[in-house]
Symmetry: C2
Subunit: 324 residues, 2 copies
């Protein structure tokens, strides 16, 4: 069976073998660059593992998996321009290393390449696969727009936040699992269950990110914690804290958010103290757990043999315990 | 038979009937906006007219035609960000009216929508149509990158310039004609001839733009002439002038290009005088004519009935005589 590790290896090998046009190099060098930063290759690995749940022939799923990884990297590339982020996976972002115009245009090329590779699947499933992908790609863009809107919004509802992370993160993970399943020959019912499995997995994953950004071990997390607090990012923790706080705690939280000049360490300490007092971390952990439980129930209902599910269960359990 | 006018009307009606998601409005309002600016609808009209050359059922070509128009507008939207252009079709560009992030993201959505609509064709031609489109979309991006490279380059070769306008403009016009032909049931040979017809038409069209920008009648052209001269844009005229100039004329041209402070009218007059002295306008006109002649020869070889070609001939003749 394909494990996360063997899937990642298959994907990395396939990506390193991709041949793009060589000219103009300003257009294709950034694409080679961002794809060489590797990352977790979680999404394409999920495509292969989902396919493998229903079929021993995973070959058919490799190019569509790569297409989905290219799409994911395209969204990171353009998001980094919009967020003015200068570092991605410990390396300069494309617009920081080249410039903004090159980042826009090489991203555009990646969105075309994504379609090209996703379409390299059996003709019998082509319409299904591209239909799911198109729907998902639109949703991911919608999620990014909500994310940008929320940055400027004074207050965001928990419901709105969950919808945003569902669109921005979960639906792509869900679609990777659904597309892999379809290529593997799953029934519509099983493919839909795999989608739900991925959606719940993705929601849990993203909420964990919120928790890790505040409570992670910097040595394992790979960067300083508290970045979201310093930036007043409207994460689950902050939104929930505002929902629960009243009186002096509310005033204090409001004050922390409005501070213009501050030592980041002080602000992180103060906001963390509020979070602890309100117990928002426990609430986040509970919600993460409930999404994982939902995910496991979805996977359990899939009609594939139990033994074939073991690697996906291991992967989900690994994500549950992740510390970075 | 479908005329340019009836094709434009069909396209405008179909576009006004498109229903996009309504939320988030920051994402979909710019798309509705740019598509409502109308423009010439040349590309989708060519899809319908090419289809009509081979078939009386043009219905099948409407959605793919719209997809190609959405793609064209997507490239305009992103190009306008890169070029920092604030006006398009006498209206504010998307990034000027909203902001750059919204322009990047709504453009990304348009590239996805383009694929969605282009894929709405008969299953029997789907792989052909999307394959041509993918290839073309990559080439258009390559053309834009060369265009940006040329802006910073000290000198550009005529060969490089012609390659750039072929990629940036001609291949999309060529593909519209080829895709329409394929949907209409053309043979591979005829579809390829239609591609060549479009490529030569597009090259002539773009070179005419260079001439009109300098020699057009401002009242008919719709904007002040000489913009390319003021901006030192490396058009056919400037590149050819540098190729032909020597001695005092070369020195003068070089001086005009390097001037930092100048009255635009003076610079336009001076450069125009050099162009006239070197006869570069005639050279451009000759080249335009030769591309049109090639285009007509391509169309002539297409095996459709002669009477069915009359509207495309009329359209090409109209473009030949265009003054804006």
């Amino acid at each position: 069976m394909y494990t996360l590790k063997s899937s990642q290896a298959t994907i990395n090998q396939a990506i390193s073998g991709l041949v793009f046009n060589s000219e103009p190099k300003e257009l294709y060098d950034p694409i080679r660059y961002i794809l060489s930063l590797e990352g977790k290759r979680l999404r394409p690995s999920l495509v292969l593992m989902a396919c493998n749940l229903f079929s021993d022939n995973v070959e058919d799923a490799v190019y569509p998996a790569i297409g989905l990884e290219i799409f994911h990297n395209f969204t990171l590339l353009h998001d980094d321009i919009m967020d003015k982020a200068t570092v991605r996976r410990n390396n300069p972002t494309v617009h920081a290393r080249w410039n903004e115009n090159i980042a826009i245009l090489s991203g555009d090329v990646m969105s075309i390449l994504a379609y090209e590779y996703i379409s390299k699947c059996r003709p019998g499933v082509l319409l299904d696969v591209t239909g799911i992908f198109t729907q998902t790609a639109l949703q991911v863009c919608e999620g990014q727009q909500y994310d940008m809107n929320f940055e400027k919004a004074k207050r965001v509802s928990l419901e709105g936040y969950l919808k945003m992370i569902e669109l921005k993160t979960s639906v792509l993970i869900a679609s990777c699992l659904k597309i892999g399943s379809i290529i593997g020959g799953a029934t519509t019912k099983d493919a839909d269950l795999m989608y739900d499995f991925g959606k719940n997995l993705g929601l849990a994953f993203q909420l964990q990110d919120d928790v890790l950004d505040v409570y992670g071990d910097p040595k394992i997390f790979g960067k300083e914690t508290g970045g979201d607090i310093v930036a007043n990012k409207k994460t689950f923790l902050l939104i929930k804290a505002f929902e629960l706080a009243d009186g002096a705690i509310f005033e204090n939280l409001q004050h922390q958010i409005e501070r213009k000049h501050f030592d980041p360490k002080d602000k992180i300490k103060a906001v963390k103290a509020i979070y602890d007092e309100l117990g928002v971390r426990d609430q986040a952990d509970d919600l993460v757990k409930s999404f994982y439980q939902k995910a496991f129930r979805n996977l359990d209902k899939v009609s594939a043999e139990k033994s074939r599910k073991s690697e996906l269960i291991k992967l989900a359990e690994g994500l549950m315990k992740r510390e970075n």
